[in-house]
């Protein structure tokens, strides 16, 4: 489909890198400034989860299109510990790290499609799709 660009998340500066690349990609697709902020924020949350909970992972951005519509897919890939209970992770206010617990449910609200696959001991893959209006 579209151009795929990735950032490897090893430390907290990579979170900023991912955020900037995500915003750049969103601008290229033609998202409004509000949607650019939504995407940059979603990227930041996903990247921080990789940084906090796994040794290393990747965030990738892909430009996509469907008939007249243009969009962008955010893919978060890690080989971390996986999630015990995805539904618990998706609850507002649930956090194991002393954060606000808004990360994943918040990201879901910021995008149009959201899908998590996680296997204990193997890792987690999150795909989030946002379409232009």
């Amino acid at each position: 489909m579209g151009l795929l660009s990735c950032v490897t998340i090893n430390n907290e500066w990579d979170i900023v890198k991912a955020r900037q690349l995500g915003r750049e990609c969103a601008r290229d697709v033609g998202f409004s400034t509000v949607d650019q902020a939504r995407i940059a924020t979603a990227v930041s949350e996903l990247a921080r989860n990789i940084y906090l909970y796994t040794d290393s992972g990747q965030l990738c951005f892909e430009q996509i299109s469907h008939t007249e519509q243009k969009g962008m897919t955010l893919v978060s890939l890690d080989d971390g510990p996986g999630m015990d209970d995805i539904s618990q992770m998706m609850e507002d206010g649930y956090s194991t790290s002393g954060g606000l617990g808004t990360g994943l449910p918040g990201v879901k609200r910021l995008v149009d499609q959201f899908d998590i696959q996680s296997e204990k001991g193997k890792g987690t893959e999150i795909r989030a799709v946002k379409w232009t209006r």
């Binding site: 907290e12 500066w13 979170i15 900023v16 955020r19 900037q20 915003r23 400034t33 509000v34 650019q36 902020a37 939504r38 940059a40 924020t41 930041s44 949350e45 921080r48 507002d92 954060g99 606000l100 808004t102 990360g103 449910p105 918040g106 990201v107 609200r109 910021l110």
Partner: protein
């Protein structure tokens, strides 16, 4: 990267103009509290006009620094939150309740004066 903190009479003024990574945010928290302690400032304005994104971590750091400053006896007002940032924060689920805000620096200083009864 450190965020400059300016003193104006009994106020401290901060304009955040850098892309905030986690370390910069935590460093800012420490720097602001020690500046309040050092100068005896009674009010603080943190201007976010140039900030184009606030995620849950930065929001937590900002919300915490407001509460920490209050504990020390200084009032803090956040100003200049841009429309896309306000929309994104609420959708994300971050409400920053009980954090005083104002439209811009000017309104922020007015609000501080009122709250401090000056």
């Amino acid at each position: 990267m450190r965020i400059p903190i300016l003193k104006l009479h009994n106020y401290l003024l901060i304009s955040i103009q850098t892309e905030m990574d986690d370390n910069t945010a935590i460093q800012f928290q420490e720097d602001l509290l020690s500046e309040i302690h050092r100068t005896g400032a009674s009010g603080v304005v943190i201007d976010l006009t140039s900030v184009d994104m606030i995620d849950s971590f930065i929001a937590k750091v900002l919300g915490d620094v407001v509460k920490m400053s209050n504990l020390m006896g200084a009032k803090v007002v956040l100003t200049g939150i841009q429309p896309p940032v306000a929309m994104t924060l609420i959708e994300l689920g971050v409400h920053l309740q009980n954090v005083p805000t104002a439209l811009d620096l000017e309104q922020g200083l007015l609000k501080l004066r009122q709250e401090l009864g000056e």
